[in-house]
Symmetry: C2
Subunit: 415 residues, 2 copies
Amino acid sequence: MRQSTLFTKTRKNAPADETSKNAEYLIRAGYIYKEMSGVYTILPLGLKVVQKISNIIRNEMNAVGGVEMQSTTLQSKEVWDKTRWSDDVVENWFKTKLKNDTEIGLAFTHEEPMTAMMKNFIHSYKDLPVYPYDVRTIFRNEMRAKSGIMRGREFFWKALYSFSKNKVEHDEFYEKITQAYKNIFNHVGLGDKTYFTFASGGTFSKYSHEFQTVCNAGEDLIYLNEEKCIAVNKEVYNDEVLKDLDLNKSDLKEVNAVEVGNIFSLGYKFSEPLELNYKNAEGVEEFVFMGSYGIGITRLMGTIVEVLADGKGIVWPESVAPFKVHLVLLGEDVEVKNKAEDLYNNLIAKNVEVLFDDRVGLSAGEKFADADLLGMPWRLVVSKRSLEAGGFEIKARNDEAGRIVTENELMSLIS
Amino acid sequence: MRQSTLFTKTRKNAPADETSKNAEYLIRAGYIYKEMSGVYTILPLGLKVVQKISNIIRNEMNAVGGVEMQSTTLQSKEVWDKTRWSDDVVENWFKTKLKNDTEIGLAFTHEEPMTAMMKNFIHSYKDLPVYPYDVRTIFRNEMRAKSGIMRGREFFWKALYSFSKNKVEHDEFYEKITQAYKNIFNHVGLGDKTYFTFASGGTFSKYSHEFQTVCNAGEDLIYLNEEKCIAVNKEVYNDEVLKDLDLNKSDLKEVNAVEVGNIFSLGYKFSEPLELNYKNAEGVEEFVFMGSYGIGITRLMGTIVEVLADGKGIVWPESVAPFKVHLVLLGEDVEVKNKAEDLYNNLIAKNVEVLFDDRVGLSAGEKFADADLLGMPWRLVVSKRSLEAGGFEIKARNDEAGRIVTENELMSLIS
């Protein structure tokens, strides 16, 4: 993509009320735009990141048997009445009304509508297990929203709901999706900072599990055993739990962390009140055993920025970067410009994703500052000086200095 | 995809209150699920259709310079106050409130937020033209919603907004996107029934233009000149307009139609009140000249069903079908089953999209009825009889009878 055709621009400053690093950098670089507190437009470069993260998640969900669908934002009160419609139970509902004054809700999750819908499709043990999932926008009426895209009033997530015959079948899937989650956080570049964390369970399970990424801006406190690669959320940090998990206080480190994913055994919590049952192989009616599994996609994007950015801007891992290469043309010399244009076309022909800074009237310093702020993995400079030195200057975003490569060397390095 | 792993099932009947053909078939076939009137969950097969239509639209939008982004659902009152916040102006707003009692709206369109946002990015004539677009969910609080997914309270659309230096630049783009829209409706199989239609304009243009698909279930009345391939919407059907367009009443046919797309010259309607201006080449401030261009994606899906379905079910054009081939295995014979499994794997290896009806315990009649209802372009039967006759029976959805082909013949026909 030519930077000259991109309507967004880098900014010197984020809005004054924006205190989080992720929002500051993402706004300044033109990835997102703030509509109101906790509500951000995803700009073209940001959408590319959201799509890359979403597709990494989709691949892992499909691999464990997930089937993608798209549930609705508008929610029927009837479906929720038996469980969580009351604002005393769920305080961050957004609600609105139809013209005939019927109250409706805006989706903050989908356990209830999924369970109600599945009554149409699940009747026999032959219909189980099934794993529908959603990649969609979620709405939560947060009292405060000060963490940028790490806690939005409107945000993207992936949510999968599992419907199993019984606890044994459920537990097998729970193991599989735990591994799928680990693959996802490894793939997006947060694997070494993300810990499998024990958190509060419910009626049907001792614990739920969170994936917590160690990060100063995190709103959670966890107690981390680095050697065992597990952690305990503050909410269940007590002697009984530590004993149960065979952990010693002295081996644990208190750190701030961001909950980037969670997995939850729901058991019959929703299938019982909403009467989702099936006939087992013996012809006896049983309730379906459920689980739910979330990943905040925009939160993950914000966490990647928080954890990996440096003083100059964002540092995207290659797996989620909007473009692999930021090709920077310096100067107005026609010969240099032609070389840059050729290189741009050759990279595209090799299916390399390139952002081409073809803007005129900017200094080398301005272009380099923008490249650092935008954070593509590779900066590739074409200038009179680079051509005289025998080619193009390539520099990884995290390296201090670049080096000159020929086009052949470049292609074998990049594509 | 194996049909046995798909959690949806076909149904004998749609909900009793569902009167439209599109919703009846789409619900019975398991493409959508009704949450409430005008609000439908998009099930896995339906999501594939939505994605195919969306990608056809994206390709055409990108080709005319469109850049995709993702705007927000939650809308700030401040942005809309100067134009259309009042329910007297827009009667189908959904509105809700933040915890601090601030009123906010749910997106029914995005001219205002787009215009407000562009003030951050458009300053000079060098920044123009730009063409951001959205593929997203839209919310409209319709009094009645009885046309299935052709008029939803929550629905998918594509909306592009054009920002041009002046009317001349705008008109050039308007021509281009008109052609892009024609390409889209051709591509999804509605080209021969979709007419460029003159409708009411605004302060800055005599007419807007709609793309109307002739269809009995359509809510609009248009006056059609088949020879000239244009139509006039009832709302501007009068002597003056007919004279202006050089049309004679006697050559026009009154028909019902569905508005599947519209294009609109907005001029300064939003840039003036929201103060979106730029410095022209002479250094003089001018307002940006705008346009907007919508296509209802779920409406288009519904219209395809309405227009092309027959008495047995849906008939998808290949371009939007969830799968190209519906592979139907008949009987429980192991040898036949193995042949079908091999064929399934071979088709996938050739990148053919296949839905494999591997369900057991259903009669041939039941499987054929489901295949007709689901509407894939090709039905491919593997049975003892087909193997004895020398191969597999292939039948186009619209053909009465199939014919036997060998695997080689099949592959050259299909892939």
